[in-house]
Amino acid sequence: MILLQSPSKYLLQILTTRLENLDKGVELDSYWIEFNDVRYHVQASMKNPNLLFLSVSLPPPPPETVSFGGLPPGAIEAIKAAYGVVAQILDPPRDGFSLTLKLNLSKLPPDEEHKHGVLTKIASVREVVLGAPLRVFLKQLASRTVASDIDKVVALVHRPMESFFLIPQVEKVTVVFPMRFKDSIDILLATSFLKEFVDARRTAGLNNAPPCSWSPSPPPELKGAPPEALSSNAGFVSFVIFPRHVEGRKLDRTVWSLSTFHAYVSYHVKCSEGFMHTRMRRRVESLIQALDGAKPDYEKAVKATQNRSFKRLSLKDGRSSLKSFS
C-alpha cells in the first residue's frame, strides 16, 4: 500500500459487521488509536442494535491554530453535510473526546451501493473533521470566491502540537509544511525523499501536478507566522494548489493528501528503514556462510549430514571445548 487510505479500515469493518448482524446485536465497546494521535471509541448495545456511538479525539492543536470548542473551524458544518440524518452530533462529547456522533443505522439509504458509500464516508470521519478548514479554503479556490483570510498565513493542525500553513489567494493556495523528525536517520532519509518530490514534479507526465519546492529555511511566504512554529529539521515543502486540483471529485482527495502529507512521508521513511534492515540481515547471513566455507570441516560436515554417517570424535573436538574456557 503506497498511498494512505482515507477510510479507517478497522472502523469500516466494525460498521459493516454490525450492519450485517443487526439481529444478533452484541455489546460493543472498542477503543483504538491511529497515526498522528487520532483516537476512536465505538460503543453499541444490544438494546438498540441500530444505534452506534462513535467518538473521535483529535491531536492537540498548537497555539497558533484556531479552534472552536475543540473542533477545527468548519467541522460541524462538514459533518452535517457529509452524513445528513444518519449522524447526530452529541453535545457535550464523551469525556476525553473532541466529538461524539450518534449513528442511526436504520437511516442509511436502502440500496447496497449507497449504503456502502455512506459507511465508507463515516469511516472517513477523520478526513471530514480534521480536513474541514482546509476543505473550506480549497472550495473557495475552486469557485474562485474571495476568501476572508486572503494573503494571510493560516495555521492548521495536522499532528499533535504541530501545524502546517496555508496562504490563500484568489488564483491559488500555497501550502507549506515544516517537516520535523525525531531521529537523525529519519531526517536524512526524509530530506532525500523530499528532494525527490521536487525532481519528480519536473518529469513530463506530472506537468499538471501542483508545483512543488523544498527549502531548508522558511520560505518568504511564511513571513507573518510565529517563529516557534517555524522550526524544522528536514526543511520546508511547498505545494501550490490551483483550481484544477480541487474541482469536482478531486477536492476530497486533495484534502486528504495534503492533511496526511507528513504522515505519508514518515510512513515511507519507516518502510525504507525496515527494508534496509531486512537487506542487512540477509547480507550478514551470506557473509557468515562464506566464512563457514573457509573451515575445512564445513564440506565434510555438509557431506556428513547428507550421507547421514556418524561423525568420528577426535582429540581436536576435545581441544575445541577446552578453548572455550581459556
Partner: protein
C-alpha cells in the same frame, strides 16, 4: 577504470595479507599462563611487524598490523555524502554488533577507521588461510556493493513515493 582501480586495491591487500598471515601460537611473555593477541597489546616491539597502510584515495584506506600471533585489518570505507555516511555507519554497526557470529570481526573499529578484523593463530588453525583471505576480500567488495545498493533503494523509493503522491492531483 573504477573497476580496475578496485581490482588493483584488492589485489594489493590480498598480497599483503598472504605475506602477513603467518601466525603461530605465542604464550604471553609478561603474564604467566595467558595467551593474548599481541597486536592488540603492542607491548613487546620484537613481536610486532611494521604496519602497512594501503590507500586507494584520501577517503579509502586499509591498515594491516601484524604480530607474531595475531593480525589486525582496519578499513576506512568511502562516504561521498551525508546519506552514504549514515548508511555506512548503520551497516557497519549492524555487522560489528554481530562480531561473535563472524569470529574474525572486532567489536569496535580501530580509531580513525570504520571496521576492523582481528585474526589470531587459532583462526588460522581452524580455517584455511586462502579461504580466510578470500573472505576478507569478499567482505570488502560486499560492503561497497551493499552501501551503493542501499543508497539506490532509497533513491528509487523516494522517486516512487513522490510520483505516486503527485499523480493523485492530476
Amino acid at each position: 577504470m573504477a573497476a580496475n582501480m578496485l581490482r588493483l586495491y584488492l589485489t594489493c591487500i590480498r598480497n599483503t595479507l598472504e605475506a602477513a598471515m603467518c601466525l603461530q601460537n605465542f604464550p604471553c611473555q609478561e603474564v604467566e599462563r595467558h595467551n593474548k593477541p599481541e597486536v592488540e597489546l603492542k607491548t613487546s616491539p620484537e613481536l610486532l611487524l611494521n604496519s602497512v597502510v594501503i590507500c586507494r584515495n584520501e577517503a579509502e584506506k586499509c591498515l594491516i598490523e601484524t604480530s607474531i600471533n595475531s593480525l589486525r585489518i582496519s578499513l576506512k570505507v568511502k562516504q561521498a555524502d551525508e546519506l552514504e555516511n549514515i548508511l555506512t555507519k548503520k551497516f557497519l554497526r549492524f555487522l560489528s554488533m554481530r562480531a561473535e557470529a563472524f569470529q574474525v570481526l572486532r567489536r569496535k573499529p580501530v580509531q580513525g577507521y570504520d571496521i576492523s578484523f582481528l585474526i589470531t593463530n587459532y583462526h588460522c588453525e581452524e580455517m584455511q588461510k586462502q579461504r580466510l583471505i578470500d573472505f576478507i576480500v569478499q567482505f570488502m567488495e560486499d560492503i561497497d556493493k551493499e552501501i551503493s545498493e542501499l543508497k539506490l533503494s532509497v533513491n528509487t523509493r523516494g522517486r516512487l513515493v513522490a510520483t505516486e503522491f503527485l499523480k493523485q492531483f492530476i
